[in-house]
């Protein structure tokens, strides 16, 4: 038995008179739209909210390190910042960072260009599509660092080997994301583009790339992160052998010397660069494209 019968009305609803009324003029109602107060505007500001989070995290670090009081294990934030300043101004940190960034950018650029070529082929031909799917399935799970011994054998000690493993870590992540972005472009948008008479590369760059941009940007972000990880890891493993090491080597050196504040300074440099790239490059890109087009909140 259902209990629906309980709520059924017993008779017809009561008759009610019709009525019409005039609506108030908008001016009489008052605040329909007003400027936000400075507090409301501050809370709307993503940069402000993020800085607050960073400050809070910094405070937690400082307080915990003070309680722990063991500089070898976890130096205070203030000590780390002093070490960072010292290493940048008097030490080798700037040089190491620039060296790492150079390799990183070379590897990243090559990886992105290769990914673009591969995905373009896969977007236009069935063979290319199958090739890309197979290659990404094979190589994406393969840790770049596991290829390092081989890279050393093929390219020798030095920049070539690191660039090779960075390209490997960037290529598949970017290609996979771009490819799945292309695949999720709606049939309607594809047909619309084709009725305009677009074909080949014009179709790819006129329709597919902008339509898949959210996925492409997230692929570029993931690729960037993978490139960093691979670079630091590779330098930790064999940075010493190349003529001049990068950030990973800086961290390794200071760990061996038990200069923990400087180890943290090296890690902090990686974090700061990451934050800077995210907020300057990727965020700017997103604001001027995805947000403006309503493809991202």
């Amino acid at each position: 038995m259902t209990n629906a019968s309980v709520i059924l009305p017993a008779g017809d609803p009561p008759p009610r008179p019709d009525y019409e009324r005039k609506v108030e003029a908008a001016e009489a109602i008052g605040d329909i739209a007003r400027k936000l107060t400075w507090r409301e505007r501050l809370l709307q500001n993503a940069l402000f909210r993020r800085v607050v989070i960073l400050v809070v995290l910094g405070l937690v670090w400082q307080v915990y390190a003070t309680i722990l009081d063991n500089e070898l294990m976890l130096p205070k934030l203030s000590v780390t910042l002093v070490a960072l300043w010292d290493a940048f101004v008097h030490g080798t940190l700037l040089e190491r960072t620039l060296f790492s960034l150079e390799i990183l950018l070379i590897g990243y650029a090559i990886g992105v260009v290769l990914a673009a070529a591969l995905v373009s082929v896969s977007a236009t031909t069935q063979v290319g599509n199958d090739l890309l799917s197979t290659l990404t399935a094979m190589f994406n799970p393969l840790p770049a660092i596991a290829l390092l011994p081989l890279a050393l054998l093929w390219f020798g000690l030095g920049m070539g080997s690191i660039v090779f493993v960075i390209v490997h870590s960037v290529l598949w992540a970017v290609a996979l994301n771009t490819h799945s972005g292309f695949q999720s472009v709606s049939e309607t948008m594809r047909m619309a583009g084709q009725t305009f008479g677009l074909k080949g590369l014009r179709y790819i760059f006129g329709i597919l790339v902008p339509a898949a941009l959210p996925a492409i940007v997230s692929g570029l972000k993931i690729g960037w992160a993978f490139a960093w990880r691979t670079l630091i890891a590779a330098e930790l493993v064999f940075g010493a052998s190349s003529r001049s090491g990068g950030l990973g080597w800086f961290i390794f050196e200071n760990r061996v010397a038990l200069e923990t504040p400087y180890v943290f300074a090296g890690l902090l440099t990686v974090i700061l660069i990451g934050l800077a790239i995210e907020s300057l490059v990727f965020r700017t890109l997103e604001t001027h494209t995805l947000r403006k087009w309503g493809m991202q909140r």
Partner: protein, 276 residues
């Protein structure tokens, strides 16, 4: 705005006695992962310049497949479709299409650029003319104020207006419309139908219009091709010239409506002679 100048391509088909589009015994099939589906079976029709030609039928009658085939996305397995005597080989800007879905507009382009884009990627119109043409068509659909807005800030009705302007601005031989108002609310749909008729009065372009609404077919169309369900076959071709919003209550409208309903629903449950 001054009426857009006739292009050589459009001038060549101006003779109203020669059909612009002919479909001869067109059978369409498509394959899904598991089965092969016959969408239409030997459908023939002729569209003349200035026709508002409606493909009407219940869902599953292949009317959208037929439109896609005319657009060049689905080659017929049997029969031919010809535009001005030439077989259709693939999609092209001489058959611009207005879709039902709102995502036919490119979100990364402003309203102005959306309308201008097909003209920019084709050499149909001189570069110098494009801007003026876009302004003219935005004016026609009353969206001049929104020229710099991006599509995501527009309502559904406005998006469809932009899509119609974009297609019309190309002056296609046939304007293909695939249930363009089906995703709109009833009030907006009515406004849009009236607007389409007003635009047509202005330039007398040729429309091939797909719908499943008998009322919409009678209001929008001048010729109605009634298709039977699954696989689609021609059931009738009817004349609906002169019918519009003013004639909804007339006997002729009611009679045509009843006639089409009979063809589509005869023998179905819920359809009895007493119903009308």
């Amino acid at each position: 705005m001054t009426a857009p100048s006739l292009t050589p391509a459009a001038a060549a088909v101006a003779s109203p006695a020669v059909p612009v589009l002919t479909a001869d015994d067109v059978s369409l099939q498509y394959t899904t992962r598991e089965r092969m589906v016959t969408a239409t079976w030997r459908v023939s029709f002729k569209v003349y310049p200035g026709d508002r030609f409606v493909l009407l039928g219940p869902s599953g009658c292949g009317k959208s497949s037929l439109l896609k085939s005319v657009a060049g996305f689905l080659p017929p397995v049997e029969g031919r479709i010809r535009l001005n005597g030439r077989d259709i080989k693939g999609p092209g800007p001489d058959r611009m299409m207005v879709f039902q879905e709102f995502d036919q507009l490119l979100p990364w382009k402003s309203v102005f650029e959306n309308v201008a884009y097909p003209m920019r990627v084709n050499s149909r119109f001189p570069r110098a003319e494009i801007e003026e043409r876009v302004r003219g068509y935005l004016d026609k659909i009353g969206l001049t104020r929104f020229a710099d807005a991006h599509p995501h800030t527009l309502s559904g009705g406005m998006k469809q207006r932009v899509a119609i302007a974009r297609a019309m601005a190309m002056e296609p031989e046939v304007l293909l419309m695939d249930e363009p108002f089906a995703a709109l609310d009833a009030l907006t749909r009515r406004t849009m139908q009236a607007e389409l008729l007003r635009l047509w009065e202005d330039t007398r372009f040729t429309i091939l219009f797909v719908t499943h609404s008998i009322e919409e077919a009678l209001i929008v169309g001048t010729r109605i091709l009634v298709l039977s369900p699954h696989p689609g076959q021609v059931r009738a071709e009817l004349d609906a010239t002169g019918l519009g919003f003013d004639s909804v209550a007339t006997p002729r409208f009611a009679e045509l409506q009843a006639r089409i309903e009979d063809m589509l629903f005869a023998g179905r449950p819920g359809h009895t002679a007493e119903a009308h």
